[in-house]
């Protein structure tokens, strides 16, 4: 499954709820305000790194740039993709949206 997280982890439980539901081979896409979970030095860096020991995490470049986050500020191993990459992930995995 593809778990899409679109709320900020600081104000919503969407991110932690999604983590709770991730199985082996599942992947996560951070979009909209969800991308704050991927920012280096934030409160959720540990949770994301721990998730990435088993699951791949992606974030949407359009949302990253809009929020003024440079690619160098994204936690290592989080893969940056565009809308076409988003489509590919949906083709590969059944999506569930956490908002």
């Amino acid at each position: 499954m593809l778990h899409i997280v679109k709320k900020s982890p600081y104000e919503s439980s969407a991110f932690s709820d999604a983590i709770n539901y991730m199985e082996q081979n599942d992947i996560m896409l951070l979009t909209e305000d969800g991308i704050y979970a991927a920012k280096k030095g934030g409160k959720f860096e540990g949770a994301l790194k721990s998730l990435m020991q088993k699951n791949a995490v992606f974030c949407l470049i359009a949302d990253v740039k809009a929020r003024g986050i440079q690619e160098s500020e994204i936690i290592e191993n989080v893969k940056v993709i565009d809308y076409k990459g988003f489509v590919e992930k949906v083709v590969e995995h059944n999506p569930m949206t956490w908002s």
């Binding site: 305000d33 359009a62 489509v87 908002s99």
Partner: protein, 116 residues
């Protein structure tokens, strides 16, 4: 692949419709088929015919109408629409209004259903 789209949030208030729009353009460019966009909850507001955003801002209603001209089916839930005032007089196109069965139909006929 056949992709069905569910929109649960209104225009401008949430980014949902913007993300969905960019996703749909990318999917079509990649050769996928959009089986339809179903508007539920506050999503029905996206099809209000009288939107007048400032000139330097995107007009979500018109962007959706362009998608429709490209063959994408738009479906506004009749019950959610009535509750919110999106009815025959206020919706872009009366033919778009339909029942919840159409959402299930999208789930059945699409390889993937994605919620925004």
């Amino acid at each position: 692949m056949k992709l069905g789209i569910l929109i649960k949030e209104g225009p401008y208030m949430h980014q949902a419709m913007d993300t969905a729009y960019n996703f749909i353009l990318a999917a079509m460019e990649s050769g996928h088929e959009i089986t339809g966009i179903f508007f539920y909850n506050d999503g029905v507001y996206n099809r209000c015919a009288t939107l007048e955003p400032p000139r330097d801002e995107r007009n979500i209603m018109k962007l959706l109408t362009e998608l429709e001209l490209k063959g994408v089916r738009l479906i506004v839930c009749v019950a959610a629409g009535k509750r919110r005032g999106i009815v025959n007089q206020t919706v872009c196109k009366v033919e778009e209004i339909s029942g919840l069965g159409q959402l299930l139909e999208l789930c059945i006929t699409s390889d993937r259903t994605i919620t925004f």
